[in-house]
């Protein structure tokens, strides 16, 4: 049935991005999306968007794999930008401390400053997508936990992420089973039923899922204790590789970009680049 709970799935596409260790990709992903979050310099963001699109191209991810998602993100971005504009049409002027009206008049007049601000936010949404996709599509999920542990997350927490990935397909299947048997009983959670009925109906699905998940937690933790999980302070990983020259190169490059970002903050005298002075 619905086993493909990950519509976007890891596949080895044979590029250097696949050979890079999970830990360095994770670190790269976190650092790059982090710096994009902080440095709201339009030029820098454009650079990051181009860079991440090039990386996406290199990763040999096919457009068809990600086209649907791209559309979704663009719609999502548009809604957010419209909301910002409607609710705060003068926010740009406040940030850049100047006001040059581009078109219209009155409260909703579109200023150059607001436009630039909206472009910044738009770029922020866009830059996250290719980075997330590259990480997701080129990283073996099995490596994920080991990578988290390597970048300093305690191994017990890292392993719980691995457990989550392990049991998501099982839980998905169980959820479908339960909701189908509820449908057969006549339980309706779609728009056809009145709102409170829907919520009560949803509870009727969640109750069995909850009770069986609690049982599962008990039996899995017994199985893990019997196999000595948590016995030692450290844990080794089947999927852990020593960082190679490639990894160090990637990490240095990412670090360079991050440093550059911080320099921009100092030069710009703040997180925004202000061309209106």
């Amino acid at each position: 049935m619905a086993d493909n709970s990950f519509s976007l799935a890891y596949k080895n596409r044979g590029t250097w991005l696949d050979r890079c260790s999970g830990a360095s990709k994770l670190l790269g992903f976190v650092l790059l999306s982090g710096i994009a979050m902080i440095v709201l310099d339009t030029r820098f963001l454009i650079f990051l968007v181009i860079l991440s699109l090039i990386l996406l191209k290199i990763s040999r991810v096919k457009m068809s794999e990600v086209a649907a998602l791209m559309k979704l993100v663009l719609v999502f971005m548009a809604i957010n930008l419209v909301m910002i504009y409607v609710l705060a049409p003068n926010y740009g002027s406040q940030i850049y401390q100047s006001k040059d009206i581009l078109l219209g008049s009155g409260y909703f007049a579109l200023t150059q400053q607001e436009l630039l601000y909206l472009v910044n936010i738009g770029l922020e949404y866009i830059v996250a997508v290719p980075l997330a996709l590259i990480f997701l599509l080129t990283t073996n999920p099995s490596e994920f936990a080991a990578s988290l542990n390597r970048i300093g997350i305690p191994y017990k927490i890292s392993y719980s992420v691995s457990l989550a990935l392990r049991y998501i397909p099982d839980v998905t299947r169980e959820y479908h089973q339960i909701s189908l048997s509820q449908q057969a009983k006549g339980n309706e959670i779609s728009k056809k039923a009145p709102f409170f009925k829907r919520l009560k109906g949803a509870s009727a699905i969640l109750v069995p899922l909850l009770l069986s998940s609690i049982d599962r937690i008990e039996s899995v933790s017994q199985a893990m204790e019997l196999r000595r999980f948590g016995a030692k302070k450290r844990r080794s990983w089947y999927f852990s590789e020593k960082l190679k020259a490639l990894d160090w190169a990637v990490l240095s490059f990412v670090l360079l970009i991050v440093i550059f970002g911080f320099i921009l903050i100092i030069v710009n005298g703040g997180r925004f680049w202000n061309p209106f002075h």
């Binding site: 909301m83 457990l163 959820y175 959670i189 919520l199 009770l211 998940s213 937690i217 997180r271």
Partner: protein, 188 residues
């Protein structure tokens, strides 16, 4: 004895985080209940978070909310919206604090406790979605206050309603399976 006894997190907690996150993820991704308000849905992952917190406590609640939300954002492919991920973690943590009072595993769930739980979940949602998420968006993403408070308000109300109804039903169902049934008599 080895050092696991003093560990800050038990094996059972680790598994509760793992499987709790798996269920959270599935509910967030596949299950949304349409509300009477156009294009708005109630997310069943949050009532689940309330329950997991109430059973396993604040640490498990924190990580289920945080990892579950982050994993969902990552797997969706649109990038992780960290401020909201963080807010969900805080919500899980706050909801988990109710464990000490509810004592679901050993005591019956009285209506007084249920009221307490609901008042507490409203406070927790206010903190997470009316304060932390929008302030985070303002500070980190530099978004305008009017927009982020509106969004946070909206999400918070939905979660309150969802937890009040579905979360309460789940709590009752769970506590019924735990409490001892001493005086069962067969009836004519």
């Amino acid at each position: 004895m080895q050092d696991k006894k003093k560990s800050w997190i038990s094996v059972r907690d680790v598994v509760a985080i793992g499987i709790g996150t798996a269920v959270f993820f599935v509910l967030m991704r596949f299950v949304a209940i349409p509300t009477p308000v156009a294009n708005t849905t109630i997310n069943l992952a949050e009532p689940w978070l309330a329950l997991i917190g109430a059973i396993f406590g604040p640490i498990v609640g924190l990580f289920v909310g945080f990892i579950g939300h982050a994993l969902n954002d990552t797997v969706a492919g649109w990038g992780v919206w960290w401020t909201w991920v963080f807010a969900d973690g805080v919500l899980g943590l706050l909801l988990g604090l109710a464990k000490r009072y509810l004592k679901l595993d050993t005591e019956t769930l009285t209506s007084k406790k249920l009221w307490f739980f609901n008042i507490w979940q409203v406070i927790a949602n206010v903190i997470a979605w009316f304060v932390i998420a929008p302030l985070g968006d303002i500070v980190v993403y530099r978004q305008p206050a009017a927009k982020v408070f509106l969004q946070g308000f909206w999400a918070g109300i939905g979660n309150m309603v969802g937890i009040a109804i579905v979360g309460s039903i789940l709590l009752v169902a769970y506590s019924r399976t735990r409490t001892r049934t001493g005086s069962l008599k067969s009836e004519k």
